[in-house]
Amino acid sequence: MADTRNNGGTWSGASNVETTVLGADEIILNMGPQHPSTHGVLRVKLKLDGERVVDSECIIGYLHRGVEKIAEHRSYQQFAPYVDRMDYVAAVSNGLGYCEAVEKLLGAEAPPRARVVRTILTELQRIASHLLWLGTHALDIGALTPVFYCFREREEILKIFEKYCGARLTTHAFRIGGLQYETYDGFEADVKRFCEDFATKIDEYETLLTENRIWVGRTKGVGKLSAEDAIALGVTGPVLRASGVKWDIRKAMPYAAYDQYEFEIPTRPTGDTYDRYVVRMEEMRQSRRICLQAVENIPSGPIMAKVGKVLKPPPGEVYHAIEAPKGELGYYIVSDGTTQPYRLRVRPPSFINLQAFDRMARGSLVADVVAIIGTIDIVLGEVDR
C-alpha cells in the first residue's frame, strides 16, 4: 500500500474520493491494482480519518478484454470457450449458464442424462470455487493453514474435471445442446468417493476457523450489509443470503436438474463477514448433498440434443440466469437470425456485488478492508470481462 498525502495523488482519472475536500485529519490511501489481497487487479481508493474508512472508490477495468464485443464476431459455438475466461475459477458454471441461455434461445433442451451430469459438475465446481475463496480469504486475514487444506480437496475436484474433459480450469465442459463427452469409466465412483471424504474435510476446516478467537474477532460485525441494502444494490448469491434473504435461483427458477434434488438454502441474519463465511461453508455441504443424490441415479440415454451443426436461433431475445458460486450469472442474448449473436450481455455477479463494497467498508477500519474484499468473493476476470 502506498501512502499518499492530500496533494500527492498523481494517478490518472477524476474520482469522487480525490475531488472531495479533505478534513484536517483525513488522508487518501491507494490500494492496488497490484496488491495480493485484492485478488487480482482491483484498485481501491480509500479516504481515511485515522484508521476509519470515510469513503471509498473501486477503480476497475484493468482486465477488460471486451468479451461482449468478441461475442458479436463469433458463432454461438465459437464463443463458448470465452465464457470460461470470465470467472476463471468457476468455468463450469459459466459454461452451464451460456449453454442453457443459447438452448433457450434455440428452443432446445438438453437430454436428461446431460442435465444430471451438468448438475454434478457444476456443484463440484461450486465446491471448488468456495474452497478457493475460503483458502485465500483466510490467508488474507492471517490464517495460513486453511489454504493448504482447501487446495488439497480442490485438487481432487480438478482431477475429476481433467479426467472428464481434459482440462482443469478453463474446462469448456459443456456444449450447446448437451455434452460432447460421455462420462469416463469410474466417474460415479470418483464423485462418490470425493463426496464421502469431503464431509469430514469441511469439519476439519471448521475446527480451524469457526470458533477460532482471532477469526471470529476479525470477521464478526465486519462489513455489515442489511437485506434492504443488499437488494437495492442488486447483490446476489451467498452475500445476499448471509443478509437474511432466502433466495437461490436453483430453487426460485430451477434449471439443469435441480428440481429433482433435495437441498437447503442456508441463510444467516446479520450480513457480516462471519455470516458469509458460515453460509458458504453450509453451501459446500449442500452441494455435496446434491452431488451424492445425483450420482446415485444418472439416467441413461443420449447426451446431446439434436440442435444441428450450424446454429441459427430465430430472431428474438432471451435472458437466462443461473446461481453461479458468486451469485446470479445472467446471459442476455439478442439474435438476428444469423449464426452470430447480435448482442450478448453478461450479467456478472462479481461486478454487481463489488458495487456494495463501498457500503460495507464505510466506517470500518482500514485493516478490515482486506477482509471485506475477500468476503465479497470477486474474480476480476468477471468484474472487468
Binding site: S12, G13, A14, N16, I60, G61, H64, G66, E68, K69, I70, E72, H73, K104, L105, G107, I231, A232, L233, G234, V245, W247, A252, M253, P314, P315, G316, E317, V318, Y319, A321, E328, G330, Y332, V334, Y342, R343, R345, R347, F351, I352, Q355, D384, R385
Partner: protein
C-alpha cells in the same frame, strides 16, 4: 417462436396508469417485455418497484441498432422477490437523447449505467457521477456500438499511455 403480443393484468395496470407511454408489450420465449417511452422511464421504474414489487434491478444494458431512427434499446431486467417473476423494460433512445437515470430507484444502476455510458455513449440524466468505468477516462469512442470495429482502438491513447504503436 416469434414474439407474441402480451396482455396480462400487469400490462393492463401499466396501460391504465401510463397510457401512451406503454408502447408495446410482448412475450418472447415466455419472457415478458414491455416497451416504454424513454421520457417516462424513471416514473415507470418507480411504479414497478413500489406498486408492482419489482424490488431488484437485475441488469441494465443496451443494444445498438444503428440503422434505426432511435438507435439504442435501453434494457432493464427486473426481478420481483415476492412474485418470483422477471420483467424486461425496454426503451428506444436516439444518440443525442438523454435517458433518465434510475439510480434513485435502484442504487445498483449506478455502475450499470456507467458501463452503458462507457460502452455505448448513452447519457443518463440525473446520474450522480456519470463517467467511464471499464475503459480509461480519456479513451475516445464507445466499443459496443456497431460502427466501432472489433480491431479498432484509441491508438493515440495506447501510444501515449502504453508506449507502444499497436495493442494488437
Amino acid at each position: 417462436m416469434a414474439p407474441v403480443p402480451l396482455d396480462n393484468e400487469l400490462v393492463q395496470r401499466l396501460k391504465a396508469r401510463f397510457g401512451e407511454a406503454i408502447r408495446e408489450a410482448t412475450l418472447d420465449r415466455k419472457q415478458a417485455i414491455v416497451l416504454v417511452a424513454v421520457g417516462k422511464l424513471r416514473e415507470i421504474s418507480g411504479y414497478c418497484r413500489d406498486e408492482e414489487k419489482f424490488d431488484m434491478l437485475t441488469d441494465l444494458t443496451a443494444v445498438d441498432w444503428p440503422k434505426r431512427e432511435k438507435r439504442f434499446d435501453v434494457i432493464l431486467n427486473l426481478y420481483s422477490f415476492p412474485k418470483n417473476e422477471r420483467l424486461r423494460l425496454k426503451a428506444h433512445a436516439a444518440e443525442s437523447e438523454a435517458v433518465p437515470s434510475v439510480c434513485a430507484v435502484w442504487p445498483v444502476a449506478n455502475w450499470l449505467e456507467r458501463e452503458c455510458f462507457d460502452m455505448f455513449g448513452i447519457v443518463f440524466e440525473g446520474h450522480p457521477d456519470l463517467k467511464r468505468i471499464l475503459l480509461p477516462d480519456e479513451w475516445q469512442g464507445h466499443p459496443l456500438r456497431k460502427d466501432y470495429d472489433i480491431l479498432k482502438q484509441d491508438t493515440a491513447w495506447v501510444r501515449e499511455n502504453l508506449g507502444i504503436e499497436s495493442g494488437q
